[in-house]
């Protein structure tokens, strides 16, 4: 155990209260991030990626129910944290690049107001610092053109790409231990997607941060991450080093994903696997992928497959092996 674990999620279970009962979205999920490691989290939309990420700094919506498990950050369980510790975690340790920059910026306040507050309450800087200069420096670091104008604008006066850059600047306002980018390009125009991705990649490189990159498509994160977690219906089904996963995928879902991603830009990839993500009120017993799996046995029906290390650093949760 020489490597320091920044994040360690153990047996996490999270659901939502709905009109039909409490859903069972995140199902015995395990994940860990070692210092300076960059991991990719891959899965279809609705498979619980965002829920997992929002559990890490506890910004889940009100109807979410954390049913059990642990989320340890630098050894401390986030789920047990008192308000003060939690605030410190959010300010100093975890930062998040949101999925939808438009919904993530308060429409009624100028960028400068929001930026200033983040800087001011980070307690990272003296009262005396020039918030404007610092903000513009941050904007320049995320390659925003005309930072002066951006600083003095309302979010609705900016383009989607600019908004996302502003969000990235905000999440980088203070040095952090872990950066979570939750599908940072899914709401952007295709032409801008690559720019923003490369920007995030460069920032990760420069600052040497631990990071989680969430995406629907394998191709998007390939360049930037060391290790990939494939998630299906709230459970991790395969973990492998990036190269390994591409060269030697084991889980039928991963194989399906790979077959379906010829392009870098992603989109429409799940066409390769028939069916859709399960109903979380009444998910399939045993292996959750069973109804869509090309080869399943009775065992898949009765018992939940656990992650097994099939070779060094390559884990798969499937009875097929």
């Amino acid at each position: 155990m020489t490597q320091q674990k920044v994040l360690e999620i153990k047996n996490l279970n999270v659901g939502y209260e709905t009109y039909r009962g409490v859903t069972d979205v995140i199902h015995h999920l395990d994940m860990e991030v070692i210092k300076k490691e960059k991991i990719g989290v891959i899965g279809e939309s609705g498979c619980g990626k965002t829920t997992t990420m929002k559990t890490i700094n506890r910004i889940l919506p009100n109807n979410a129910v954390i049913k059990g498990g642990q989320v340890k950050f630098n050894g401390k369980n986030v789920l047990d944290m008192k308000k003060k510790e939690l605030m410190k975690l959010r300010r100093k340790n975890v930062s998040m690049i949101p999925q939808d920059p438009t919904a993530s910026l308060n429409p009624l306040f100028k960028v400068k107001t929001q930026m200033k507050d983040i800087l001011k309450y980070s307690k990272e800087y003296d009262e005396e610092i020039d918030y404007k200069a610092k903000s513009i420096e941050l904007f320049e670091s995320v390659a925003l053109s005309d930072p002066e104008r951006v600083y003095d604008s309302y979010p609705f006066q900016l383009s989607g790409g600019m908004r996302q850059r502003v969000c990235i600047a905000m999440s980088l306002a203070t040095p952090k231990d872990l950066l979570i980018a939750d599908e940072p390009t899914s709401n952007l125009d295709v032409t801008i997607q690559n720019q923003v991705l490369n920007l995030i990649g460069n920032l990760l490189e420069e600052r040497d941060l631990s990071a989680i990159l969430v995406s629907q498509a394998l191709g998007t994160v390939k360049k930037f991450v060391d290790k990939i977690y494939v998630i299906y219906a709230g459970t991790v089904i395969e973990i492998a080093k990036t190269d390994k996963l591409f060269s030697d995928p084991i889980h039928p879902y991963t194989i399906g994903l790979l077959e379906a991603t010829p392009k870098l830009t992603g989109g429409g990839f799940s066409a390769g696997i028939a069916g859709q993500t399960p109903d979380y009120i009444d998910p399939p017993s045993g292996c959750r992928f069973r109804p869509r799996c090309p080869q399943y046995s009775d065992k898949c029906k009765n018992e939940r497959p656990k992650l097994i290390e099939v070779e060094k650093d390559h884990y798969v949760a499937c009875w097929g092996n």
Binding site: M96, A103, L108, F109, Y121, Y154
Partner: protein, 337 residues
């Protein structure tokens, strides 16, 4: 922004002119001879006819309307059958009293609804919230005149805390007229006892007027806070580690109050209507009570003037509120110009 307000003003004016045409025509086409109402039954026929001609009531209705309109622009609202003098004089005498009451009630309403709404919205599903909701349900469900009667019964008759009617106690004389507003005139002349007495008299009716709308607005602000609290930008603000008080009272509050402010304007405007009932119950010597009495005597000129005056106030309140909302929400401000 200016263009936006200008447009609102223009359409408000159009609506007011339409309203005046409607109410004027309506008053002329219903059965009944306005002249006969003005004079005593014994008046000889030729005097009636002379009066009819001098008031242009023998002319076609549209001519009558234009004559009336011209007079209105000169500040002459016509003769009141009820008070037997010009409606303009009545308006000058009674309107300030009503405006004072409504302003007082509006201040109570604004303060109360914001405090209650934020109080409830910050403590969702706790006792503070339930208490506020109970109050809002009562406030929305009980008509203003019922509040007036119950307040009169409890706080005036039973407990004796407040006087039961009028604007000033007996023996307290009105301050000499400068603006027509008692509180303002008394202040200008340093008669602080008069101000105190006036406020003492105005408090019950003002609260009775303020409560129904207060409940409504508090509810809007509460539900606004719930809705906005689910927005991604609020989770993100929390995620950046901003202190809860900043998230709540800055980033959450401002978008949350927008629907509340819109409704607040409507509610203040509604008070113009409820004032009719509350003034009646409390014997408040205001314009609404005067107008009610005139209405009961089918005093056409007073009715038309009342509708027009209240319409103008209504329009002003609406435009002020729209401007306020545009100030709070930059998206409206920028899309309007």
């Amino acid at each position: 922004m200016k263009k936006y307000i200008g447009k609102r003003l223009f359409w408000a004016l159009v609506a007011l002119i339409g309203l005046s045409i409607f109410i004027f025509y309506f008053g002329r086409i219903i059965p009944g001879d306005p002249i006969r109402m003005m004079v005593s039954p014994q008046t000889p026929e030729h005097v009636v006819e002379e009066l009819r001609q001098s008031l242009a009531l023998d002319r076609p209705i549209y001519t009558q309307y234009f004559i009336w309109m011209r007079n209105v622009f000169q500040g002459e609202l016509g003769f009141s059958v009820y008070s037997r003098r010009s409606v303009t004089v009545d308006v000058q005498q009674y309107l300030p009293r009503s405006l004072e009451l409504i302003t007082y009630a509006a201040l109570i309403q604004i303060t109360g609804s914001f405090l209650l709404g934020i109080f409830a919205g910050s403590n969702i599903d706790k006792w503070q919230d339930h208490l506020t909701r109970l109050f809002s349900y009562i406030g929305v469900s009980v008509p203003a005149f019922v509040f007036a009667i119950i307040f009169l019964l409890v706080f005036s008759h039973n407990l004796g805390w407040f006087p039961s009617g009028g604007a000033l106690s007996e023996g307290v004389s009105e301050p000499s007229r400068i603006t027509g507003f008692i509180a303002l005139d008394a202040l200008l002349q340093g008669q602080f006892f008069t101000i105190g007495d006036f406020i003492h008299h105005a408090t019950l009716p003002a609260i009775a007027l303020a409560i129904p709308g207060m409940a409504q607005v508090a509810r809007m602000i509460r539900s606004g806070m719930i809705t906005i609290n689910q927005k991604e930008y609020i989770s993100m603000a929390r995620g950046y580690g901003l202190p809860e008080r900043i998230v709540r009272f800055k980033y959450l509050l401002r978008p949350s109050i927008i629907p509340g402010v819109t409704v607040l304007g409507m509610q203040i405007a509604m008070m113009l209507g409820n004032a009719f009932l509350v003034e009646m119950v409390f014997g408040w010597p205001g314009f609404s009570r005067f107008a009610i009495n005139a209405m009961m005597r089918s005093d056409l000129n007073t009715i038309v003037a009342t509708v027009l005056i209240i319409g103008i106030m209504f329009a002003i309140i609406n435009i002020v509120v729209d401007t306020l909302v545009a100030y709070i929400d930059p998206r409206i401000r920028y899309s309007g110009s």
